[in-house]
């Protein structure tokens, strides 16, 4: 063998060796990591959960997902700017109802049908409305979780105060609050310092006073308005309970208020299912019971206020439509929603997924028979001023004694009537 022949053979061997190493690597990369979907959210605290789910999805489909969370308060502006500039993510978490309806109406999200996402057919109409536009009523997202309002209680503190039967009407609720107070325990953990909390407290109590779905439908249609005596009574139902809040309730910020309940310093907290994970983060051994807002009168009807917390949507301009749809169906799957229910405390929009938390399971059970939409959030957040933006500081004015509930109702009506067409007819 000449020197020349040895060199050629050496080169050939090197080429074959290189091919054996490089070619499978190229094939492997094109089969598994050819597409990476971008996925945005306003929940930095859920990063570990979403990344674990993305890994599961990638394992079964070969499609990678990059989860990017943004600060909740900046999310609307960040997403809107990116979508308008044509640089939005492939898949994203969107806020429900008026929260992002303007983005839906502007054609930023891909319209979805039951054929695209079969599990959409199993979601209630009220929940689906959370991911529709204000003018464009097509479906733009899969609503992933129901938020529920009600009354949470500490069973240990109640038994210490001698309360054995849970109240069902406002009258019996007030009796219990008085009994708890007499036992030297703060009855309500809520404060008036955190304005959005006052609207949520109202949301838990109000439907029993204004009459749930019938009133909701009438006011949305414009056949009644916020000056209605039933609505005024619902405002008063909340403000009458302020005297059972801790002394100095006006200086109580959101976390201190929730901390009072979580640390066993207050017997009741009126709010949403989403408070429970915070309570448990402060006090993992806390026992939490739950019941729906009490009836206005003994034997009256009770309601469970609920709404879609948000939805998952696809960018209308995505270049990975098929992969994005595959991922959206993964996010709408029973397996994903079960994990979310158990790990994030979600109340899934699909039947047959039971939360492992007893308080959340109790809420879930009541929605089908007692559910009613959160009036101000579902119906009147599509224009400025929203009913919420007037109601929240308005309750603080009532608490400070500078406004009456009648004046609050009138200010909501006058404010919303500036943009809500059914009120201007």
């Amino acid at each position: 063998m000449t020197k020349m022949q040895r060199s050629v053979r050496g080169l050939l061997a090197a080429a074959i060796a290189a091919t054996t190493i490089v070619v499978p690597a190229v094939v492997s990369s094109s089969a598994h990591a050819a597409v990476e979907l971008s996925f945005w959210s306003w929940r930095p605290e859920d990063k570990a959960f979403y990344e674990a789910q993305a890994a599961k999805f990638e394992k079964s489909t070969g499609i990678a997902v990059k989860f990017t969370p943004y600060v909740a308060t900046d999310y609307n502006a960040t997403l809107a700017t990116a979508l308008t500039a044509g640089k939005g993510p492939d898949v994203m978490q969107i806020r429900a109802y008026g929260g992002m309806a303007n983005l839906s109406d502007a054609g930023n999200f891909m319209p979805l049908t039951n054929a695209d996402v079969p599990n959409l057919a199993k979601v209630s109409a009220g929940m689906k409305a959370g991911a529709q536009g204000y003018t464009d009523k097509r479906q733009f997202g899969f609503p992933y979780s129901t938020s529920v309002l009600g009354v949470m209680y500490n069973p240990d503190l109640l038994s210490k105060a001698g309360v054995t039967v849970m109240p069902t009407s406002m009258q019996s609720f007030v009796s219990v609050l008085q009994k708890v107070k007499a036992a030297g325990i703060t009855p309500l953990g809520n404060g008036t310092g955190y304005a959005p909390g006052l609207e949520q407290m109202w949301g838990a109590l109000a439907p029993a006073y204004y009459g749930g779905n019938d009133f909701f439908n009438s006011i949305v249609a414009g056949s009644t308005n916020f000056n209605d005596s039933a609505f005024v009574a619902s405002l008063k139902a909340e403000t009458d309970l302020y005297k059972y809040m801790p002394a100095g309730a006006s200086g109580l910020d959101y976390n201190t208020a929730r901390g009072l309940f979580a640390n066993g310093k207050a017997a009741f907290y009126i709010g949403g299912n989403y408070e429970i994970s915070y309570f448990r983060s402060l006090n993992p051994s806390l026992k939490v019971g739950w019941f729906p807002g009490p009836a206005a009168t003994s034997g009256g009807k009770r309601y469970v206020t609920n709404w879609a917390d948000g939805a998952f949507a696809i960018n209308a301009k995505t270049t990975h439509k098929a992969e994005a749809l595959k991922f959206l169906n993964f996010l709408a799957s029973k397996a994903f929603l079960t994990d979310a229910a158990n790990q994030l405390g979600w109340i899934p929009p699909l039947a047959g997924i039971q939360s492992s938390d007893p308080a959340i399971a109790a809420m879930q059970q009541k929605i089908p028979t007692m559910g009613t939409p959160f009036l101000t959030l579902v119906g009147f957040r599509y224009g400025t001023p929203t009913s919420s933006s007037i109601m929240q500081p308005g309750f603080q004015k009532v608490a400070a004694g500078t406004q009456t509930v009648e004046q609050l109702a009138k200010s909501i009506q006058d404010g919303v009537a500036t943009w809500y067409k059914p009120f201007t007819k």
């Binding site: 308008t84 992002m100 304005a195 609207e199 400025t384 919420s388 608490a399 400070a400």
Partner: protein, 306 residues
């Protein structure tokens, strides 16, 4: 001729040196400011721009339901300016005078006075929220301890105490800044005037009132203009402690908070109105711009040569 050539060369060199700064201001300040100005004259649907709206956004801002909020926020800005200006300037002058006269430890006390200024306002806000917490805060604990129950207020939760409390926190954090400016002013005054007055038999009080204070006018101009701009653009502290609605019940609302609320909406209460928000931005810009320009002109005219 040669002199003119040199001058031209110097001007060209100065222009080259100024160019990076000018470009930065143009790209990051002037263009965004002009863009905001243009936003005020268009219809908006969320973050999507619609057709030309003329002055409609301005009309809406001065009509129900925004008018009341606008005037209330403006009133708060004025109160904040007056409160901060009167107390902070007086305190700043006194502290600076004390440091100026301090026989020893001037550097140490100067650092102490300036120290809160370097803290992030967000940290300062949360720190004071804890200090003033009605349940576990040390302030109310102290008042309860000495049986001054009347003084144990819900400082940030009461509509009548929230704004003064924010002004106080602002003072605590910012008083070191005017102190340093005034101290520099005192140090810049020629000792000849003071010594001449002393020889003529003037007391320390008279020297302070008749010589030092009038010669401090240039420092006063700087502090006044900066306080005016800061007060009319006051955002971060009320946002951290009262949220975007200026809680409780709008008692700490300011023009900048209202601008933010209108332009970006709120997670807890909904929709935004970029057009009206931008109209308010234009008004804030005009108030601050005109106020600062005329204020500075007026104050400079009253300055005395040191």
């Amino acid at each position: 001729m040669a002199k003119q050539g040199l001058k031209r060369q110097q001007n060209r060199f100065a222009a080259i040196l100024l160019l990076p700064g000018l470009l930065t201001v143009l790209i990051f300040t002037s263009i965004p400011a002009l863009t905001t100005l243009s936003y005020a004259f268009f219809h908006w649907k969320g973050f999507s721009r619609g057709g030309f709206a003329g002055l409609e956004n301005f009309h809406r801002l001065f009509a129900f339901p925004f008018k009341d909020q606008l005037f209330m926020a403006f009133r708060h800005n004025i109160l904040v300016f007056v409160g901060i200006y009167v107390i902070q300037t007086s305190l700043g002058i006194l502290l600076a005078y004390a440091l100026f006269k301090a026989p020893r430890g001037q550097r140490f006390f100067r650092t102490v006075a300036f120290f809160p200024v370097i803290f992030s306002l967000v940290i300062v806000g949360y720190m004071w929220q804890s200090i003033l917490n009605p349940f576990y805060g040390p302030v109310n604990w102290f008042f309860h301890h000495i049986h001054w129950e009347f003084a144990a207020q819900t400082w940030l939760g009461n509509t009548s105490t929230a704004l003064p409390t924010l002004v106080f926190i602002n003072l605590w954090r910012w008083v070191g800044f005017p102190t340093i400016i005034f101290l520099a002013g005192f140090n810049a005054i020629s000792t000849d005037y003071v010594e001449a007055a002393r020889i003529d038999g003037a007391s320390e009080g008279k020297i302070f009132r008749k010589i030092l204070l009038p010669l401090l006018a240039p420092s006063m101009t700087i502090v006044t203009i900066l306080t005016f701009i800061g007060a009319f653009e006051w955002f971060d502290l009320p946002y951290v402690l009262g949220g975007s609605s200026g809680g409780p019940a709008g008692s700490t609302d300011t023009l900048a908070l209202m601008f933010y609320r209108l332009s970006f909406g709120s997670v807890d209460s909904g929709a935004n109105e970029i057009g009206i928000g931008s109209a308010l931005g234009v008004i804030i810009f005009a108030v601050v711009g005109i106020g600062a320009t005329y204020g500075s002109k007026f104050l400079r005219a009253r300055e005395v040569e040191a």
